[in-house]
Structure formats: structure tokens, C-alpha cells
């Protein structure tokens, strides 16, 4: 166990790559697999998750001194559910089409373990500034992960990126990439690459 709590900068940096929520912690697999068929839904999901994660971190950090240990999970869930509902209503009001496309996956942010794990690990123990840095870092890490998977799937599956054609007309769109099996294939391959990079770095550091 670490003897000191990580600082705000450490929290921020760790969230992006060293402790990337998807590639290193394997958290938030449901949206990672479900909404990464194209960049637009993936980035909307990343933004909605960031909104909930950062605000939940802020709230929990502010009330951390009042938390009773055996009721803390209840408080976390209550807080997260509130912000998810707000995010869901905002999407329905201002991004109606996208809200319909994401459907039940927006309410399902409530059960994204990434958010509750940050409440438990960081914001219920550390100050406001560190909690914000942690939330922002993890959100960037999550957006990068969703973006990388969605990029591979959208380009190979429909020859587009953010709906704009990037591959020549003749590209035989690999339909499987935008279907659920494509999500598993892409996630598996990218996880493998991330692990391989991590290990080769570690072995170089040991030499």
C-alpha cells in the first residue's frame, strides 16, 4: 500500500494513461462495447460520463467529512444517480436524436463502476482540487479509450470518421466492425496492444 495519498497532478496524469479506466482498470465495459460503433455516440457518452464523474467527485469530496462509513455507498449511488438523470434530461432536451440513439445506455451510466470507484478511491478521501483533477484525468482517459475503439470501428466498419468519409469510395465497409462482435474484436486487440506496450516498457525500465 502506498504510504501517501497521490497528489492532484499524479491523480490527473494517472487517469489518462497509466491507470486508464478502460485499458488498465477494465472498468466501464458496458459503454465501451455498446456505443463505440461510431465517433459521435462514443464522444457523447464520454462527455456525459465526464459530466457525471466530475460533478460526483466534487460533491462527494465536499461532503467527505460527513460520510458515515456504512452509508457511504448509498450516498455515492444517490449522488451519481442524480447527475445521471440530469445528464439524461439535458441530452433529451438539446441532443434529442443522440439521446434516442444512446437510449438506455445513458441511464446505465449510473452503474458505470468507473464513477463509483473514483468516489471510493479518491474523492471520499481527498480534497476538492485533487478530486476535480482526478475526475478530469479519468474522464480524458475514458474519452481516449472510447475514441480509440470508435475510431477503429467506424473507419473499418463504415469508412467514415465522425460521419465524414475518410476512406476511398471503393472501401468494402466491414459490416461486422459496427456490430457487437466488432466491439469485442477491437477491444481485445487494442487491450492486447496496450498490455504489450506496458510490458515492454516495464522490462526496459527493469534493465
Amino acid at each position: 500500500m502506498a504510504t501517501h495519498e497521490p497528489t492532484a497532478t499524479e491523480r490527473f496524469v494517472q487517469g489518462i494513461l497509466p491507470e486508464n479506466p478502460v485499458y488498465r482498470q477494465l472498468l466501464g465495459m458496458c459503454p465501451t462495447l455498446a456505443v463505440t460503433g461510431a465517433m459521435e455516440p462514443a464522444m457523447t457518452m464520454a462527455a456525459a460520463t465526464a459530466f457525471v464523474l466530475i460533478l460526483a467527485n466534487v460533491t462527494v469530496s465536499l461532503i467527505r467529512g460527513l460520510l458515515k462509513p456504512h452509508l457511504r455507498i448509498l450516498v455515492f449511488t444517490l449522488t451519481i444517480a442524480t447527475f445521471v438523470t440530469i445528464a439524461d434530461r439535458m441530452l433529451a432536451a438539446f441532443l434529442y436524436e443522440m439521446s434516442k440513439q444512446l437510449g438506455p445506455y445513458v441511464p446505465l451510466i449510473i452503474v458505470n463502476c468507473l464513477i463509483i470507484s473514483r468516489c471510493e478511491i479518491c474523492s471520499s478521501k481527498q480534497g476538492l482540487f485533487t478530486a476535480i483533477a482526478d475526475g478530469v484525468g479519468m474522464s480524458i482517459g475514458f474519452a481516449l479509450a472510447l475514441g480509440s475503439i470508435a475510431t477503429v470501428r467506424e473507419i473499418l466498419g463504415s469508412g467514415k470518421w465522425f460521419g465524414l468519409a475518410v476512406l476511398p469510395e471503393g472501401w468494402p465497409a466491414w459490416g461486422i466492425m459496427v456490430l457487437p462482435p466488432g466491439a469485442f474484436l477491437t477491444l481485445g486487440l487494442l487491450l492486447g496492444i496496450a498490455e504489450w506496450i506496458g510490458q515492454s516498457r516495464a522490462s526496459r525500465a527493469n534493465q
Binding site: 455498446a34 461532503i63 460527513l66 460520510l67 458515515k68 456504512h70 452509508l71 448509498l74 450516498v75 444517490l78 449522488t79 442524480t82 438523470t85 440530469i86 434530461r89 439535458m90 433529451a92 432536451a93 438539446f94 434529442y96 434516442k100 437510449g103 438506455p104 445506455y105 441511464p107 457487437p180
Partner: protein
């Protein structure tokens, strides 16, 4: 349970949870008050954009909102769909309806012919059914297309086996409850509003004849 965790009674243990629940409840009520009308407007726009699809030959621009009451005194908005043929021929009705699905509320739009005796189309406006199973109720090929052409004079039945005959709807495999819910919502709405729709049509015809 140790005695320490009980110290001070339930209120002193749970006051934070109770307070937060009240604050969050208030915040959500505020959000709903502010955004509710915008969301309703989005839904209405979508409803209007589906008019030509649900009632063949109807024009979106000519759609008229009518408020009707059912036998129990419940009031709701229905949409009157007209053709853009210079005479504003009544082409049919869009009856919005909703009810409990497997996961959450399902909202649908039912297209009906002018006499409200044939279903001309069905569209799912809002649903949160299980992805990969229940959410196929939004799929036209797999599910929705079979509603068009069914009689509105007798309730729809849901069948889990092929072939379907008469007023039967083929349930989605793995989503019988979702399929059943949609059929029930349609049946309930038609049962409640078939007569009011017919009366409204008769009244409208009378008004037109007086004008002539």
C-alpha cells in the same frame, strides 16, 4: 450490529442521506421544470415528422392537434392527418399512447384510418427496453411493420409461434414481455379512443357541411 453503529439512533446516522435525497429531489424537480417543455417539443416535432409514414398520403404541415376525452374523462391530444390535395381530405389519425414495458415506460404513435377501424402504422417514440432483445420493438422489419393493416375493431393478440393469423402479432424472440406490452398499449388506447375519434370525425363532417 455493534452498539456503536446504533449510537444516536437512526436519524443521526442517516441525516446526510435524508438531506441529500431532499436536495437532489429538489434539483431534479428544477431540471424537469426547466427542460420538460423542451423535451415535449422535441417529441412533438418527431411525432409530426412521422405523420406521412404513419398515415399514407398525409402531409405534415396540415396536421391538426385535437384534444379528446375518453369515456373515463381522461383527456389527451390526438393528431388529425390531412392530405395536401387542395380539399384537405381527412386521411387518418395519429393516436399517441403509452404504458409500462419490461424496463420502463414505452411511448408509441398509432396511425389509424379516418374511421379509426384499421391500424395504418405504428412507431415507437420512446423506450428503454433491454438492448439486443426488447429494443427490437423499434425495428420496422422485425416488428413494427406487422401492425399496419390490422383491424382496430378487435384487440390484437400476441403469438409466440408462426404462422400468425387474423389479428395476431408475432412476438419478438426473447422479448415476449416487450412485444406484449406494445400490443397491450395499442389495444388499450384504441379501446379508449375509437369512439371519441369517430365522434370527432362525424362532428367535423357536420361542421364542414354547414359551412357549404
Amino acid at each position: 450490529m455493534t452498539t456503536t453503529s446504533q449510537k444516536g439512533g437512526y436519524i443521526s446516522q442517516a441525516w446526510l442521506v435524508i438531506l441529500l435525497a431532499v436536495i437532489y429531489g429538489g434539483a431534479l424537480a428544477g431540471v424537469q421544470t426547466a427542460l420538460g417543455p423542451i423535451i415535449e417539443k422535441n417529441k412533438k416535432n418527431e411525432t409530426l415528422s412521422k405523420v406521412p409514414q404513419l398515415v399514407e398520403g398525409a402531409a405534415r404541415e396540415l396536421t391538426v392537434e385535437v384534444e379528446l376525452a375518453d369515456a373515463d374523462g381522461n383527456r389527451q391530444t390526438v393528431y388529425q392527418a390531412f392530405a395536401d390535395d387542395g380539399e384537405k381530405t381527412l386521411k387518418g389519425w395519429i393516436l399517441p399512447a403509452g404504458g409500462q414495458g419490461f424496463a420502463d415506460r414505452i411511448e408509441v404513435l398509432i396511425g389509424l384510418d379516418p374511421d379509426a377501424s384499421v391500424i395504418t402504422g405504428l412507431y415507437v417514440l420512446d423506450q428503454k427496453e433491454t438492448p439486443g432483445l426488447g429494443n427490437f420493438i423499434t425495428d420496422e422489419e422485425l416488428f413494427l411493420n406487422q401492425f399496419a393493416g390490422k383491424s382496430a375493431n378487435q384487440p390484437l393478440e400476441v403469438s409466440t409461434t408462426d404462422p400468425v393469423v387474423g389479428n395476431q402479432i408475432r412476438a419478438l424472440t426473447g422479448a415476449t414481455i416487450s412485444s406484449d406490452s406494445v400490443a397491450k398499449i395499442v389495444n388499450r388506447a384504441i379501446a379508449a379512443y375509437q369512439q371519441p375519434l369517430r365522434r370527432e370525425r362525424a362532428a367535423a363532417t357536420e361542421r364542414n357541411e354547414k359551412k357549404d
